[in-house]
Symmetry: D2
Subunit: 430 residues, 4 copies
Amino acid sequence: MTASVPPMGWNSWDCYGASVTEAEVLRNAEYMAKHLKRFGWEYIVVDIEWYQPTADTHDYKPFAPLTMDEYGRLQPAVNRFPSAENGQGFKPLAEMVHRLGLKFGIHIMRGLPRMAAHLGCPIAGSPYTCREAANAADVCAWNPDMYGLHADHPAARAYYGSVFRMYAEWGVDFVKCDDIAREYPRCRREIEIISEACRKSGHDIVLSLSPGPAPLEQAEHLKENANMWRITDDFWDEWPLLLAMFERAEKWCIHSGPGHWPDADMLPVGALRQCYTIHPRGDWTNFTKAEQRTMMTLWCMMRSPLMIGGELTKNDPFTLSLLTNAEVLEIEKKSYCAHPVMRSAERCIWVAPSRETGIYIAAFNLSEKEQKMDVEGIELPSEYVAKELWTKRQTENRINCMLGAHDVALWHVCGTFSCRSSSASSAWTD
Amino acid sequence: MTASVPPMGWNSWDCYGASVTEAEVLRNAEYMAKHLKRFGWEYIVVDIEWYQPTADTHDYKPFAPLTMDEYGRLQPAVNRFPSAENGQGFKPLAEMVHRLGLKFGIHIMRGLPRMAAHLGCPIAGSPYTCREAANAADVCAWNPDMYGLHADHPAARAYYGSVFRMYAEWGVDFVKCDDIAREYPRCRREIEIISEACRKSGHDIVLSLSPGPAPLEQAEHLKENANMWRITDDFWDEWPLLLAMFERAEKWCIHSGPGHWPDADMLPVGALRQCYTIHPRGDWTNFTKAEQRTMMTLWCMMRSPLMIGGELTKNDPFTLSLLTNAEVLEIEKKSYCAHPVMRSAERCIWVAPSRETGIYIAAFNLSEKEQKMDVEGIELPSEYVAKELWTKRQTENRINCMLGAHDVALWHVCGTFSCRSSSASSAWTD
Amino acid sequence: MTASVPPMGWNSWDCYGASVTEAEVLRNAEYMAKHLKRFGWEYIVVDIEWYQPTADTHDYKPFAPLTMDEYGRLQPAVNRFPSAENGQGFKPLAEMVHRLGLKFGIHIMRGLPRMAAHLGCPIAGSPYTCREAANAADVCAWNPDMYGLHADHPAARAYYGSVFRMYAEWGVDFVKCDDIAREYPRCRREIEIISEACRKSGHDIVLSLSPGPAPLEQAEHLKENANMWRITDDFWDEWPLLLAMFERAEKWCIHSGPGHWPDADMLPVGALRQCYTIHPRGDWTNFTKAEQRTMMTLWCMMRSPLMIGGELTKNDPFTLSLLTNAEVLEIEKKSYCAHPVMRSAERCIWVAPSRETGIYIAAFNLSEKEQKMDVEGIELPSEYVAKELWTKRQTENRINCMLGAHDVALWHVCGTFSCRSSSASSAWTD
Amino acid sequence: MTASVPPMGWNSWDCYGASVTEAEVLRNAEYMAKHLKRFGWEYIVVDIEWYQPTADTHDYKPFAPLTMDEYGRLQPAVNRFPSAENGQGFKPLAEMVHRLGLKFGIHIMRGLPRMAAHLGCPIAGSPYTCREAANAADVCAWNPDMYGLHADHPAARAYYGSVFRMYAEWGVDFVKCDDIAREYPRCRREIEIISEACRKSGHDIVLSLSPGPAPLEQAEHLKENANMWRITDDFWDEWPLLLAMFERAEKWCIHSGPGHWPDADMLPVGALRQCYTIHPRGDWTNFTKAEQRTMMTLWCMMRSPLMIGGELTKNDPFTLSLLTNAEVLEIEKKSYCAHPVMRSAERCIWVAPSRETGIYIAAFNLSEKEQKMDVEGIELPSEYVAKELWTKRQTENRINCMLGAHDVALWHVCGTFSCRSSSASSAWTD
């Protein structure tokens, strides 16, 4: 099964925008193999515009010529990805990543290159041309590269088939398809033919849909057609965005499960925005340590995929510790049926059973002030041991603590329940 | 703690509308004590207009004079509730119910009687009159009895205090307050002062809010101020209403917990509509047996309160069996973190861990056709025993079955998980 | 034809609220007969709650007992209207007003008195009672006196017939029916039966509907069922309300015509709010002289009914001059097809042909600054004489002027057009 | 002044779609000069895609190469417009039309050709390229030719300046700019710079905006920046579209005036759809004679521009008579302040004063049945002569008639009014 647990890896966007190079990709892959792989991290994903020779920041350059084969399929820009010379595409780079024991992923934009439509390039292995597949009225609002396709025209299936077969030949394990998840219902049919092309590519490829928010009412369609999909717009290192994720996570939590994972987006930790000389938020995460714990806890409790955004080789000890807390990370694999039991402006509490033993309880301080977090209202065993997974402190029959602003406590609670009757004295709200 | 588990009982509305009498109430209480009590059923609730002497059907008679004391507090109509003679109110009836080992509840409309406002009755134990408490512009859309109150005026708190103290003296254990839950945000403040009056009444009273749908975005306010609240408009024995409950249940499931229960409304089973000579749907439930199992299963999985709507003394063997399936009913007490893992037009699957051992899995056939229900995609133990709780059949390492239209299978699955890694072969969507 | 030209008169609300007395009414009637009648002013209208004995300000007292006959028909409170003694109603007062050569009007609330419904009063000349006619769920949002009626029940027609026959017997010439015009479509049917009762009353009664805004899309229904209807909520002496009237007037102007007049509400000029000891806006109009000219000009150009709001006996010379400018007032009778030709944040220009000769042109300075008003763009005759009707200045072949903040120029332009061909040099926008 | 009266002419779209040729244009121009010019018809307008060599129907061919100069300015396709050879553009054709005493117009799409952006063509007389002016995210929903422009970038003004100077040099008298009027507020700024480019072109060019509906709330902005603008989507020969125009006309009528005309779109009369071999509606107008009279009357009463859609040389006698009724057509030049005085599902009546003498009254039968049209309710002179302008019948002191389905009567009424007082017996609604 594809993506039987939430995918974990690294993505180039948060540090390199549209400009990432082969050397940068390899450097991060090597770091992951050495320091992170044994904790479950495995995907290395090259984000947007690897086919644009002049890309050098997070921005897009309208009407810039794109590297493309004669069938209108985008190819890595050789000046940025030297191993792609002689039409080899990403095959050599994927092999290098695989040799490290990792998996290789790429970003694509929905559709086909505009110039391929204007030139009328033939579609590989089909009687059609890009002119018939492209929809002249369907352009992305924020990126100038592509035309969307007439999803009901056979040329569209032919085109997506031709590119996914190429990705499979390259050895791509993960495709992040962009300009598509927020666009329901306009792209519903296009998602279906992309999903089909992915499944028929001949290789096991995780399909990820961006950007968010994907619409909640399309949950079942998403579960059938994708392995993960974004639930918000781009996530960055700003507290209001993290705070807003609690509502999103609450709405989507029931839809997490093997093969289909609501995605809270990349983790902006460590060294970010390396492709800018100056940026208002600087080149290191703005999140406090407390906020980073809160983010990791929420992502794990909701079983979001985890994609690191920072340049890994610049990790400091705290960042590395955040990414290698094995007891926290294994929640992604062991928990199920997670959900919040309360959420107010000041606090939020999530609960999830473990498939092995016990219950995970996360208590978030969403406020700007220190506060006592008291979760005695939750139905707990009469006798239990609780371990807080960030501090590793153990307590018996008691789980409360003081938490600073934006911080979290995450307990693993083990004990035995004696089930309550109406005369039981267990208490939640009172 | 009030309502630490979902309340279970009987309510007079579905069979007697606005017209129920003391004899009818006692007859059902006696039946409950004898046949149902040991399965957890305990509340006997007198629904709307017990203060209206001429009520004789489900309908309301505008401007009918209501039985009322000199403080503008409604009293049981003595022609219908003889034990209320001499101003004793519901105290004698509550005692009779208590002597059966059961609890006693009543329905009230938000506000105060219109005539009490026009007459300017004094409010007991206060310097105010009903004229100051009542809001002349606030009337119920469907019942003609009351004016809403100016919730920010001290006369309103004085009035609600005066009636809840009277209910406490009568020995009322359960109050279903109507014309209030769907009316957010208009009634938000009024809910707070009713909740306060209830808590300060001097007696432990479950507070239930009607009608639905209560607004989802008010979930935390509801949890703080009520023990149960309706999530839909009145529920009756029609498949489209039952089908629609699946969406409601999905939205509300994360908000169920000790002391606060989203309420899917009464169970229209057995003998209904006894106060009509003729009714288009007749005087017996229109639900098929399959649909009744589906309803009971959904209500239990979502941990809704259970209030039987039918005349108990007319139960047939099937109805009685439905209400006395101990293994099904105990899901209400033992499960937690329940939620659907998929819902389409044809099928729905719910999962809930048991606090004791194992997992409950309910597979609903929402379609009009027989279909094979296959839940192998759910992460199950490698070795397990499954018991279907309606048929009592046990299987090992396999839980699928054929289900007829609108029917359900409800398994209790016990085994041990070995937690999955990414290389595991478990499958959900394929 | 009823209301063949827009009705002009005086209404008690702006100065006396709910508290006006017979002496106050008569004092204003005598002033009108002496000073205003010859300019076209003729209606004397007693506004809301003439049946409430304790009314003494603009406010309503919830649940106050109302003066009422045995058929549930409201009667003038005798302590306020002594001539109504012995059940004579408004007949004596109407006669006094008629003897002055004027017409008499009253205000009513839609529906019947709440207490008449609770008591079950019989409806005069019918087999019904008020209990059957009244709709317990239909109460006014801002006044506590009445229940709305079940417009499709014959008891409702019987009740309205009984009150309008009484008004006809009293000699009432004008009825302002309130809580009805803003309430489309809920009151659509009730408007029809009131209109029918009015037409069949046996007396020629102008029917006016309040409050506004009446919905524009109901224009044809209004034209068929009423003689005037409010196009805004209550209008008072505040510039933002006057400014907002320009948009309303623009939308409604095409619907003005004999028998049916969109109504911009009373003219808050002179001595206002006489029933308050203190009021934030004081007891004299807050409008500047310029604003009063602007209001009178807009009302006349759009052919709104004119109802003076101030205590007439306290008029100062300016106020009197405003109400007796014959050339301005006759626009109400002579113009047709009026409409704005431009409206921006700073200025607005209205044009209306005269049925006799020439064109009326009004140029409004809506800004806070003095500005030159230049209307040369309008298609004017090559040779013409223009008279500005507020200053009485005449010019030839030129109509521009400087205008202070919120002021207006209103010209009557006479000349002969030679119709333009495409080669003509006339200019509007350039 | 540009467009001091509503423009009248012929447009190629309704008969030739995107495919019109020079020969077809000239044939219609010659007909106009001979048969229509003396009635006020003067514009000959070449509609969409004169720059597309392979256009042969009403449809557009996505990604077809367009004829373009080195500055990214579209040029007539020489295979369709032979006189455009050697880079002469429309100059020779415009001269031919001018020699017939007529004016010449063209259609343009907002923006610049997509290929000009991809190629980075320089913008004539500026330091910019088309790449900077074009907005890659702004494409037309229904035509594949252009990118919209970044209206705030100086390159956009440079581009529009360069094309309008070219049009002025060609001698273009009329530009119909498409994909812009319905697109408020997105195109508000782009309209301003097009309007500026038009005014500064060095030639007097009427600026027309399409398609509709333009938003009513932008009326003043439209008046300032364009000479005409569409008030509906494309109008064709179908009664529901004609019926719907009555509501549009009512809303827009007050905004008609010299230099700025709300446009009800082309007149689909006579021979239409000549570029299709088969079309469901055929190649002759589907309007009945009555409907054609109704259309012409409404367009004239509302003072819409008049653009004939049919192939003129195929006119039959009725069509020619419709287009040459001088008394009807002169309403466009002589009337003002027109508006409907009533509009129901069955009928509508418009009134407009004449600037010379009398009043125009149009009574429309909107129903499917013959009905008597009675307009006595309108305030008419006591003594008058009425001439019905389609039948030329005269009556005295009476204007009513029987009208068949969808037909109209259009009277010119002359007499003298004696202005009404409130005691007058004139009647409108009664």
